[in-house]
């Protein structure tokens, strides 16, 4: 398990990283927390000719509220976000979801941007950003652009990032006070990638009708999936078991699970539906207790 020969360069800031990427093109790979890239290199499945290390790019390490948006720098360690009071107050789903990402040792090293740019369809963070309608902020030789999450994740391990672009951060809309959130993950062990993960955020209007629903699943398609039809089925009405059933009934059409060694596609489909029911119910219960 020794990687093939690889060159190494350390970028001091984003501009330098972009310059190195421009110079080396698609042979280069950006090194963030290394939690996926380094094992892939040791298996000789990833063979970049050069690693561009952005761990010293301090400007990308931040969690802050910005005009109704939670902004997180790409090089912020997952554990720092998990324990951030700013993040918890703004997007309470975030710490709940992060607890399912690997183990604490992985999150100490793993970065928010690394997980998003790696784009494993079973990973939790891409599903959260997709589900909440977040935006990815990327920078290339021509400047900064933002990409909606549903456009960013294109397929398994594939994103809309150009070879000369660096993911510099992510922006998540602040959830209104009193929003109930819930995460359910079905994994073979604690800390594993999800067979299926589902997450929900629900907010109730003063008349107790549902005025905001966000639902997302991971592990059941080549990309994380925001469940628009299920959200629509719940939005506007009063929370009820029937409404949750109706929402869950739309899940099967929204996902394209595959077989793997841990579970057949049929199991994933059934479990996606079940977990959506569970998180919708839990998020509703929590939103009620808060309002």
């Amino acid at each position: 398990m020794k990687p093939p020969p690889v060159k190494y360069a350390r970028a001091g800031d984003v501009q330098e990283a972009i310059a190195l990427l421009t110079e080396h093109g698609s042979d280069a790979k950006v090194l963030a927390g290394g939690q996926s890239l380094i094992p892939l290199m040791n298996f000789r499945l990833a063979r970049p000719s050069i690693l561009i290390d952005i761990n010293r790019v301090r400007e990308l390490d931040y969690v802050r509220e910005d005009n109704g948006t939670l902004a997180i720098g790409a090089m912020t360690r997952q554990r720092d976000v998990e324990t951030s009071s700013v993040a918890a107050a703004s997007v309470p789903l975030l710490p709940e979801v992060l607890r399912h990402v690997g183990h604490i040792t992985n999150r100490n090293r793993g970065t928010v941007g690394g997980s998003l740019a790696h784009a494993d369809p079973a990973a939790e963070l891409p599903a959260l950003v997709t589900g909440l309608g977040g935006e990815l902020v990327v920078q290339g030789p021509n400047g900064v652009r933002t990409i909606p999450a549903e456009d960013f994740f294109m397929s398994t391990f594939t994103t809309a990032l150009e070879p000369d672009e660096v993911l510099i951060g992510v922006r998540l809309p602040r959830l209104p006070g009193g929003t109930g959130v819930a995460v359910e993950e079905l994994a073979r062990r604690h800390g594993d990638f999800a067979i299926v993960a589902a997450m929900a955020a629900v907010h109730l209007a003063p008349d107790r009708s549902v005025d905001l629903v966000r639902l997302a699943v991971s592990g059941v398609d080549s990309v994380p999936v925001r469940l628009h039809a299920a959200e629509d089925a719940l939005t506007g009405g009063r929370p009820s078991a029937e409404a949750i059933e109706a929402a869950a009934a739309t899940v099967a059409d929204a996902i394209h699970p595959a077989d793997d060694v841990h579970a057949p596609a049929s199991y994933r489909r059934d479990m996606a539906q079940l977990l959506v029911k569970r998180v919708a119910k839990a998020a509703l219960e929590r939103s009620e207790t808060k309002s």
């Binding site: 020794k2 093939p4 020969p5 000789r44 062990r189 990638f193 067979i195 060694v261 841990h262 079940l274």
Partner: protein, 797 residues
Amino acid sequence: MTIIEPVESQTKYTGTRVRRTEDPRLLAGRGQYIDDVTVPKMIEAAVLRSPLAHARITNIDVSRARAHPGVFDVLTGQDLATVAGQQPVIWFPIPEQRIAKTHALAVDQVRWVGQAVAAVVAVDRYVAEDALELIDIDYEPLPVVADLDAALAPDAPKLYDDWPDNVSGSLTYTAGDPDAAFASADLVVSASFRHGRAFGCPLEPRGCIVNWDTFAGSLDVWLSTQSPNLARDLLAEVFGIPVHKIRVRTPNLGGGFGNKFDFYGEEVIAAVLSRRTGRPVKLIEDRAESFVATSHSRDQRLDFEMALRSDGTILGLRGVSYGVLGGAFGTVGSGPPWASVLTCMGPYKIPNMDVTVKAVMTNRSPYGSYRGWGVPKGNIVHERLIELAARKLGMDRTEIRRKNFPAPEEFPFFTGVAFTYDSGRYADCLDLATSKIDELGWRERQARARAEGRSVGIGYSFHVEPSAYGPSRILNLVGLAHSGFDEVTVRMDSIGKVTIYSGQINMGQGTHTIYAQLAADTLGIPMDDVVVITGDTDSCPYTGYGTGGSRAAPLGGAAILRAGERLRAKILRIAAELLEASPEDLQIQDGQISVKGTTGRSVSTRDVGDAAYRRLLNRLPEGETPTLEEVDVFDPPNMATSYGCTALLVEVDRETGTVSLLDCLQAHDCGTVINPMLVDGQLAGGLAQALGGALLEELVYDEEGQLKTASFMDYLLPTAMEIPPFHFYHQETPAPDIPGGIKGVGEAGPIAGVSLVGSAIDDALSDLGVAVTRFPCTPPRLLELIREAQSRKEGSA
């Protein structure tokens, strides 16, 4: 004047929770494992492995690899076969069995994914792996025998052209009149049980450093092994060089679990590369390779049925244990599936039996040793069937077990197949376990959970663990081409300190600690005065077999006690000369020898050492040989059978098929307990492995014979997050045939823990009538069982 009561019992370490002497250096990161060892001028090798499960090698071109900068040598199977014989096999339990042997590197045909086909040695491992990519091999694919059904199909492709089919052999044991027993039974329960492939997966993979000195004709080997003496004998066989010219040393082991008992091709490859380059060669198995290159195990199907009377008395047992072997034999051949048949009656009196082992070859990695060695599958047969019977008969699950135990006075108890269990108080052990279930309040927890609509169940497993392998001549008789005795040297030196030399290996069990405890108590000296040396065939004695078969404590322990007794007698004779007293009147305590019941003059072991080694005049008795050393060889008259009753509390999620482990206890009898803390450690570690095998771990092959679970992403070891709390309770019934009364304990957990999970899941779902027969019981598999049972129930309602 103070009156001191004479103390007869010297025991002070045995039976106490002495901390492990091994731990401080290991915990401080100062251990030395195989990859920490370097020797001068050493170079590093890597192995190229077959990407196909079954193929003919039509051409190998190593020229590009050989030309790669930094490469010393490239080795193919044809090169290797000119200097090395085939990989040895030591277990032949099935008479007239066909033995599938192979060279350490495939010569013209590959029979499993991961079979070694070539090797490179280079300045370092990085360069060696780069060069592996430059070896060009042409394969002509052959039809793949991917699993047991494919292997047994009438028109199955054959792994070995000169065999009539893919069956290596089969052997049937009968007892009583099984046909009559089944004909007259009130109830027959049957099932086809399956255990998936798994392996011991030591966190330190295997590795070796070999230096072949062609001038001396000698091999100097560092090897991460549980069986250095066996490795030395087998290296001698493979290369035809004398045993005394081979030295095998063993550094710290980061786990063995039986996997490092076996003798592997890499040892041979490294030796040949060293011979060809004139350099010491290190060959480390990396994590990725370990999934295909370390012995697999557990893979079995067991089709069994049990006949009973309506009162729960077992009348008969019959069935077949299919061992799903790999593309060639490992060191222990078909031993483990055979051991399943030997133990399939477990702790029960079953007068009529017809039980068969059938060893079948497939295009999978070779089968080998893994902690439990077939007995976990024997346990699945008797424990799952007796619970199915209890369910049919409406009997309590513990009562039906109790009804079929041999009583303590029926021991030694012949099982009807091969083993004679030495001793047992099975009903007492069962009662101990159930009383602890009550104390821990499991039944209340279960009732509360059920009232809330949750599915909580209690599982049981009663297991037997044949340990202290074993009487050498009997092992030979049942097909082992090796012995089972153990030899130790106990030496007191010129300043009265003691060194024990043993052929056993310390791989996490705490062998050095318990050996020091036993020696200190026997000799009457402080534990700090004892050093234990293992892991060097030049300085340590021979042990039969190796460190496996739960033998280090009972056999090594007995030999230390016997040697220690004789050494103590000699120490007392010399001290008697020094004290001008009679040896019979003397005692040793804390290394001081004095006349019993007095507070008068004493001498120390230091004085005795000096008299035996340096200043003998007027001090060493006439006729007494100088030095203080005793050697003991202990070949047990019988094995020692441990046993226990394990219970598990689980919760099942009926909507997802997931199982949470809530609590676990084991009541256990391994005879004399030398160190309760270390016994607890053995039990806990073993149970963790079993729980992994029952729920998580599986080496999954597809229909092309490709391994789909070749990393820790997919081969799921349990972590501390998955394992329940453990509670252990010791019942001590000394082993009658082992001095010191010690029984082995290393394999209790793996044997007990798999059927245990099935029992607990069944109980959690008792209203549905689910019966778990396939392991690991993954969430999709369990959900399927639940849904089938639910639709059965709805259909009948």
